[in-house]
């Protein structure tokens, strides 16, 4: 039995984020592997130490700050979870929770983050929306959207998750890094969509880490439809950006 914790799913609940865990559950079920999903939220503890994965989705900036204060109480358990190789995936604004510091330009307040990423976050009063094509690994492409008012700055030791090939909002230059990645178990990206729903290859890769072996193929219709949806969306973005599947930075 694989154990996934959905953190604050009824609170950090923007942009369909709840579905990421549900998709992983379905993908693993395709490999005949059962998943137990537990909820960690205010006043409700889930056994972090025993989990295989924690998913933290995107929420509003104020809610992200409230979740940070609650999660601070579990900093020790979280550290132990990451040290044993537990998978942490973080999306959108919630990436700030795991940075060193958060500065809120709106109020002038500063907050200590959980320091999982060697990076700084700054909440700005301005919102931006951009659609992106990024690459990772040996040139694999993901698509998605950034709908955010937070600026992230990685310090020199912090690796990114993706390399941006194209951003409709031009906030990211071609070749810029996006998101954060630490080792083989900690992933974070500002890109929502939700990322896992729109990018079945990435879904497979994360599911395979949880599976612990090579993941069996899936022929379920929902999964095949996810691939067709990816190809359609990539086609639209590719027509606009002239980025092709075989393109590298």
């Amino acid at each position: 039995m694989i154990s996934i914790i959905a953190a604050y799913p009824d609170f950090l609940d923007l942009y369909g984020e709840y579905s990421a865990v549900r998709l992983l559950e379905k993908r693993l079920a395709c490999g005949d592997r059962q998943v137990k999903v537990s909820t960690l939220t205010f006043g409700r503890y889930a056994e972090i130490e025993k989990a295989d994965m924690i998913y933290v989705g995107a929420g509003t900036e104020n809610r992200m700050l409230a979740a940070l204060e609650d999660l601070r109480g579990y900093a020790g358990q979280l550290k132990a979870f990451l040290e044993k190789g537990g998978i942490l995936e973080v999306s959108g604004s919630s990436m700030a929770i795991f940075c060193n510091r958060i500065t809120d330009q709106r109020s002038g307040n500063r907050y200590e983050g959980l320091g999982v990423f060697d990076a700084e976050a700054e909440i700005t009063p301005k919102r931006r929306y951009g659609e992106l094509i990024c690459s990772y690994g040996d040139g694999k492409k993901i698509i998605g959207a950034v709908n955010s008012s937070i600026d992230f700055r990685r310090n020199s030791g912090q690796k990114e998750m993706f390399t941006v090939l194209w951003d409709s909002s031009k906030r990211f230059q071609k070749g810029a890094g996006e998101g954060m990645r630490t080792g083989e178990n900690v992933y974070a990206s500002e890109i929502t969509g939700p990322l896992i729903c729109r990018n079945p290859r990435l879904m497979d890769e994360i599911a395979e880490k949880l599976y612990g072996d090579s993941l069996p193929e899936c022929t379920d219709t929902w999964y095949l439809e996810a691939w067709k949806a990816y190809e359609h969306a990539f086609g639209i973005l590719s027509a606009e950006s002239h980025i092709r599947q075989d393109e590298t930075v």
């Binding site: 369909g16 709840y18 509003t60 929306y129 008012s149 929902w222």
Partner: protein
């Protein structure tokens, strides 16, 4: 309400008004009569609205859903009450649309807007620019729902943006059942509230939604509780921690039965659309007419009774031997689709077919974000009554993934991205009554193709889709 007689706008500066009137006459011939004149005049005379002489009653209507219908209802009441109305109801709800409506109805010499009441629809994000130039006497805020998040980010952000557009001294008229927009009234004296409490319109307490924007108190952030819900997070709410709760309403839809809404247990109204969203619009319009425009309640009720708005939002059709109804919704707005899904599920027959088209998100913006699909209560289409679900448009596969992950049985789905082949499927493979839903960006992809099969006619149904 009025601008003081600025010296800068003396006799010769009637040019702004004359230009606007002229451009409006030209613009209406090329289909840009509502935005272009205002856009040009705003550019040349950015402060001209400040010096217009407006009537005492200037009522602005804003919010995520329901504003167009509510403005139309209000205009009808005002006219029935014998008031002369100036409104942007047919045109743009951004600042230039307001400029066009006001300048083109002003007297060039006196700068007086020729109206007893001005009724303006305003985009939530544009109030801060529009109401910099003049102060409305009243602002009606219908609700703050998840709407066009690619443009609006999220509801809290829109709340902050709209807050910047609420002048001191303006009286707010708020939906007592929508917690986020209702919180504008906290500590603001003179705020008027309206609501819907009819037991018949309450949601089944067991109904699950894709998300719950009522889970946490918008004031203190703690868990919130509900006595009842009307739809989603709209209902009678209370935060036990900080005491924030549904306030007492000036007027409310207290009963909904036999195709009628009853306001304040007294005034009976036969609505064009019999659902909970339209009940909120009716309550908003009635309350605003009575409390802000001083219309007698009996006159307001009479004006609303049996009123049919010509809004093209519900179109009845026949195809392949089946009857159907087209319901105009809004992509990136789950409440609009949820209301349409509720309508389909409340069909009295045993079998219905649902057609859902997503081909293009926006006419104006680059937007291929599909995350909003996960906010719609598509899981409800697993209901036995729904026999077939036809998904079409470029994003049909995204919709299919969403429905299947939501638990809709695979055998119900017909996934056909091609719009022409989709119409053949609708004609040949539907079962029972057809409910077709899509956004205004995609509506003609269905309605135009429908002409090959049948003649759509405007609906006069008593039940229907709710949108905006």
């Amino acid at each position: 309400m009025t601008g003081e007689g600025h010296k800068a706008f003396s006799e010769e500066s009637m040019l702004d008004i004359l230009t606007c009137k002229l451009l409006r006459a030209i613009g209406s011939k090329i289909g840009r009569g509502s935005s272009l004149p205002g856009l040009v005049c705003k550019k040349i005379w950015p402060k001209s609205l400040r010096t217009l002489k407006l009537p005492d009653k200037v009522i602005a209507v804003t919010g995520s859903n329901g504003k167009t219908s509510t403005v139309a209802l209000l205009c009808n009441i005002a006219e029935k009450a014998g008031l002369k109305v100036v409104s942007n109801r047919e045109g743009s709800n951004q600042t230039e649309g307001v400029v066009t409506a006001l300048l083109s109805s002003a007297d060039p010499r006196t700068r007086k807007v020729d109206a007893d009441v001005v009724i303006l629809e305003s985009d939530e994000r544009f109030c801060q620019y529009t109401f910099r130039e003049f102060t409305p006497s009243h602002i009606l805020i219908t609700n703050l729902f998840r709407d066009q998040l690619t443009r609006n980010g999220h509801r809290e952000f829109v709340k902050g943006e709209l807050q910047k557009g609420i002048p001191d001294g303006t009286v707010l008229i708020l939906n007592a059942n929508e917690p986020l927009s209702c919180s504008y009234g906290s500590g603001r004296e003179g705020t008027v509230y309206y609501g819907v409490s009819a037991p018949e319109l309450r949601e089944d307490p067991g109904l699950e939604h894709a998300y719950d924007d009522g889970a946490y108190c918008p004031v203190c952030g703690r868990k919130m509780e509900y006595d009842f819900r009307i739809s989603g997070h709209v209902g009678s709410f209370e935060c036990r921690k900080c005491g924030y709760r549904t306030p007492r309403t000036a007027h409310s839809v207290t009963k909904a039965a036999n195709g009628k809404f009853v306001i304040d247990s007294t005034w009976e109204i036969r609505p064009q659309i019999f659902n909970e969203a339209y009940a909120q619009n009716i309550s908003a319009a009635f309350t605003t007419a009575v409390e802000a425009m001083g219309v007698d309640p009996s006159v307001a009720a009479e004006a609303l009774d049996g009123l049919e708005l010509d809004n093209g939002r519900v179109v009845e059709f026949r195809i392949g031997g089946h009857s159907g109804r087209f319901m105009l919704c809004k992509h990136e707005n789950s409440m609009a689709y949820n209301a349409a899904i509720s309508t389909a599920l409340s069909d009295p027959s045993e079998a219905v077919t649902v057609v859902f088209i997503v081909d293009r998100l926006s006419r104006k913006y680059v937007a291929n974000d599909m995350s909003w699909l996960w906010d719609i209560d598509f899981h409800r289409l697993a209901d036995d009554k729904v026999r077939k679900i036809i998904l079409s448009g470029g994003f049909a596969h995204d919709a299919a993934e969403r429905l299947l992950v939501g638990g809709v049985p695979e055998e119900k789905l017909i996934i056909e991205p091609d719009l022409d082949r989709m119409m053949d499927d609708v004609a040949e493979r539907s079962e029972g009554y057809i409910y077709a839903m899509t956004c205004f960006t995609d509506q003609y992809k269905f309605l135009d193709r429908l002409k090959k099969y049948s003649d759509p006619s405007e609906s006069d149904s008593k039940q229907g889709g709710k949108t905006e």
